[in-house]
Amino acid sequence: MTAVATQIQKAKTVLALTSNYAVAYAVKAADVDVVAVYPITPQTTIVEKIAEFVDDGELNADLIHVESEHSAMSAVVGAAAAGARVFTATSSQGLELMHEVLHIASGLRLPVVMAVPARALSAPISIHGDYSDLMNTRDTGWITYIASSAQEVYDTVIQAYRVAESVLLPVMVSYDGFLMSHTTEPVELNDEEEVKRFLPRRERPNVLRPEKPITMGAFAMPDWYYEIKYQVQEALQGSLKTIEEVDEEYGRTFGRRYGVVQTYKMEDADYAIVAYGGASFGNAREAAEIAREKGIKAGVIRLRVFRPFPTSYIVKYLSGVKAFAVVDRAIAFGGPGGGPVFTDVATALWMNGIDVPGISVIHGIGQRSMYVEDFVKIYEMLRDGEKNKVVYMGLRL
């Protein structure tokens, strides 16, 4: 092979992909064994692409057609219990239908990986994006990433397998429904052989094998149940370290890393917006620029990992600001803080004895348009307005 040919071979592959297709390419690179899925928008095109890969012989996996999302999660739980590397994806009502099996996947400590392009919930029926579905999975014991670009979606799915198989917990990778799942961005793909080395097949203890019988999913009396659930809590809390280590190693291997929280101009910020997902983070960054032109020292913190909650980082970045806002694309109905992540951030600060005023902003519900000017207004409210309240932004009140 000539030097030029080698160079061409080693040239980076960059494709124009939606976040959904980015997931499919990551799943192919991860060389999964079993994919079980039921179609629901905006998730559907992930599995359409995976089906193409399987049909073309590019991915040697069993693609199981199931009759519901409850069955999809049950099927991957079963396959993971037998030692397979598995994948599924869902959104919205489908994630709700899976809900009880989500607890089983974490309780059985199975390294299931799932993609969730986040979407609003019925009723009224909405096919559009927000994070209502994802936030409802908060207490299921899953590691939860929220990515903000198609590239990050691709990288995170690969990282997710490494994390899941290290800490033996299921992982979901979420991102904006439609705003990311169906918009095209350039995505740099990794060499698949290199991904295989990054994701070595490791022997897992206690998988279902006829030659060494075990019981999974047994009944636990009150004198056993609590300890087994505490193991999940401990593993999930401890997984933050693994998430960071995997991200670092991924960065060394493939040249891209993200951390568990991403910040923008926080070094000298007086006012911070905490956001998650692509649209919120993008708008907040642009708004921070505009606010700085207006003399407001604005910064942005993006939660890349929602569970385990990155408390130490939130405390570190928010303890120095004059006020903060959390932009939630979901409503914690009837709750004390308006939005679910605001409630988490407030708890994280309170638990560490930090008293910084904050605003809980609800926006982008059912994909209500979020404008950069709205985020500029949040910075102005943080500087001049009343704090410690809930603001329903973009609402006709």
């Binding site: 400590r109 206690n206 075990i214 004198d223 505490y230």
Partner: protein, 102 residues
């Protein structure tokens, strides 16, 4: 008996030793205990068929009850009988009596 602590239990609530449930004597769940009055038993085997836990034991031997010879009689495995009372309910001769556990 001291039970194992968090880190002494296999993760995921997995039971790694096959057949270990035999050591889990579930008879302790019982509040009512079935007693078989052998003199009223006609060896119809209905209790044996209905018991959901398979705790009715068929014992072979020579048994004479009220002048009748039988090849077997029935006993209850109290290690596993949970006291549901189905046997007593189904017995056509009311030969099984449920009595409170002492």
């Amino acid at each position: 008996m001291s039970l194992p602590k968090v880190h002494e239990i296999p993760i995921g609530g997995i039971i790694t030793e096959p057949g270990s449930s035999r050591r889990n004597l579930t008879g302790g769940w019982r509040s009512l205990k079935p007693i078989i009055h052998d003199d009223r038993c006609i060896r119809c085997r209905i209790c044996w068929m209905y018991c959901p836990e398979g705790t009715i034991k068929e014992v072979k031997g020579e048994f004479v009850v009220k002048g009748k010879k039988y090849q077997y009689k029935y006993e209850i495995d109290y290690n596993y009988c949970k006291g549901c009372g189905i046997c007593a309910h189904e017995c056509p001769t009311k030969a099984i009596e449920m009595v409170p556990e002492a």
